[in-house]
């Protein structure tokens, strides 16, 4: 499997140029900017930064176009999305109680064996709920894909062929951040997982999340709500064992050992890794071989160096 590089946000201190030079010397670059939604394809800044041409694949617009020609699939897609949102609400409702139970126990003073056992049990309940949610979401996708085979519907297949032609010609693919659900659903609907598996990839922020095994949404201090991280979906699974956390310094209370430890324990065996401006993790043959400006959240509640191979 070719190299993958994941990066933090690129807005203020981009390191995309450095990353690109590491794995692509020449050849065409194409980009996936579906996470930018209505701004998809506005790659002028990207091209300026890289000082080379970048062809965008326009997944966001291509899906809109294809669904416009295939109202039956469009209806089914809408229904599926509504079902996913509903399941997310149910999961969030259960998660809230499970998290409150765990946090309440974690705040208890003492270190008796009985208390530690209760804390472990409460954490296991969260992990079990997370697994249950992933199974439910995976099942929704499986039923939808079996029933509709979206990438093979004529309107979708036409777009997919055009995308694959461009991918075939590209030396590497840039997967930009943005709206992670919008990005992931398009990658999945066009069935691009196997094509991307064969490409050198450079992904940042939501792009990195979409390539990982699990897409975890997180913010420790949102303006509304308790800020419990939640699983959105399975990712494409191209980044084994890594759980990318873009904007971690802004979004997470990394100085709070209890929250850091919870994140690490809850999602073990995945390794939560920070992806801030300047971060870079290079993965070769499924293993991280190089890391800059990133840290791993540990079960002890601190930040450690590079992700474990």
């Amino acid at each position: 499997m070719p190299d993958i590089i994941i990066l933090g946000p690129q807005a203020d201190h981009p390191n995309l140029m450095d990353a690109t030079r590491q794995i692509v010397t020449d050849g065409a670059l194409c980009s996936i900017t579906a996470g930018w939604q209505q701004r998809e394809g506005e790659v002028q800044e990207l091209q300026h930064h890289l000082d080379r041409e970048v062809e965008d694949l326009h997944l966001y617009q291509r899906l809109d176009h294809a669904l416009g020609l295939d109202p039956e699939l469009a209806d089914a897609h809408r229904t599926r999305q509504a079902g996913l949102r509903q399941r997310q609400r149910w999961y969030r409702r259960r998660l809230h109680h499970a998290m409150e139970a765990y946090l309440g126990l974690a705040a208890e003073t003492g270190s008796s064996a009985a208390l530690l056992a209760e804390q472990r049990s409460a954490l296991n309940a969260i992990r079990a709920l997370d697994r249950h949610h992933v199974r439910q979401i995976d099942a929704v996708h499986a039923v939808f894909n079996a029933r509709w085979r979206p990438a093979h519907r004529p309107a979708m297949a036409e777009q997919r062929d055009a995308i694959v032609r461009r991918l075939d010609a590209a030396a590497a693919v840039l997967v930009a951040g943005g709206h992670v659900a919008a990005l992931l659903s398009r990658l999945r609907l066009f069935g691009l997982e196997s094509e991307l598996r064969e490409k050198r990839l450079i992904a940042w922020s939501a792009g990195a999340m979409a390539l990982s095994e699990r897409v975890v949404l997180f913010h420790d201090s949102p303006p509304q709500g308790p800020g419990h991280a939640e699983i959105l979906d399975s990712g494409l699974g191209l980044l084994p064992r890594l759980l990318p956390l873009p904007h971690a310094r802004e979004r997470l209370r990394l100085h709070d050992p209890r929250r850091v430890a919870l994140m690490a324990r809850r999602f073990n065996p995945l390794q939560p890794v920070t992806l801030d401006a300047g971060s870079l993790i290079r993965v070769t043959g499924h293993k991280p071989v190089m890391a800059q400006g990133t840290a791993r959240l540990t079960a002890r509640g601190n930040l450690a160096g590079a992700p474990l191979a």
Binding site: A11, Q38, G178, H179, A182, S205, A206, L217, Q224
Partner: protein, 378 residues
Amino acid sequence: MSQLHPFLAAASAAPADAVDALIAAAEFPLIDDAGVTFVYRGAADAVRLRHWIYGLPTAESLEALGRHDLWFFRLDLPRGSRIEYKFEVVSGTNSHWIVDPLNDSVAEDPFGANSVCRAHGYTRPEWTLENPHARRGTIEQISIDSESLGASKDVHVYLPARFRRQRRYALLVAHDGSDYLRFSGLQQVLDNLIHRLEIPPMIVALSDPGERLVEYAANNNHARYIVKELYPALRQAFPLRDEPASRGLLGASFGAVAALHTAWSYPGFFNRLLLQSGSFAFTDIGTHNRGQIFDPVVDFVNRLRQQPGRPASKMFVSCGIYESLIYENRSLVPLLQSAGTEVRFEEARDGHNWENWRDRLRAGLSWLFPGPLWMVYE
């Protein structure tokens, strides 16, 4: 007063030429854990503290220190408080209201400026400050010939950064929009909250009144103007989302009355209301004593209390606990909730002023119009 503040103790013992240095080294008013000591220096027959804290005398006399033309007044002030004040300086038959010459911190409003006192525990929210990383929105202007108001209205419209015509946006209509811009820093707040993904990129119409106390006093013509004239004009000019949950009204004081009255007159059209320190005066029996301009307001709120209906599905109501209107605002919340509206109420240790309203915008806007914070990682 049990103990003189250390500054005053030092000043009262110091020679005249040392007082300037003592003043230069201090920050005024003098804040401690339990409250504040106001200090004025100057020749006068009397000096009074003028503030707008409901429940306290509106004028508090400063005590002469006895030396160096220094005057002081001690006020217990709970943590987290923020108050605005002036000094009234009396000399003979002349009386002048001035901002505190020793305090650089002022808040402006349509009537001028007041000095600001921040107790321990109050910090200006970081999201109200300029953020160099936040992209700037722009302001455009549209003109509307309003039959309802019998006037031509110029309305400024905030468009978010990276505005795209092919995208549809939520709409907020802000009463006293220009004042929100000038005195509450609304544009900067919107830029910041959108940048932080806490609210979606949205369009904000900044509506200004003609004769404010008439137009905003539960005036049917105003409600008709907003729903039948302003909204269609905005709909024509900008790509707005269609559903009522993507339409909101914002207002403070009489502007909140205008917002609630508009929503009550056209229930469900604007399904999100952000009401700040609303002048929701009412009477349970007898007449009110707030003056004639409140007559239509009291009439409206009394009718609302009889038949609240469901003006909007979600309302965020805020009020300063140092305002005379706190009772009216607190009363409104259970009434609206009992009628099926989802209401959040936030109180602050602050008064009837624009910075109080600024400081509540994040909680209100992010609840009424949640942004894509959890989904977007750029």
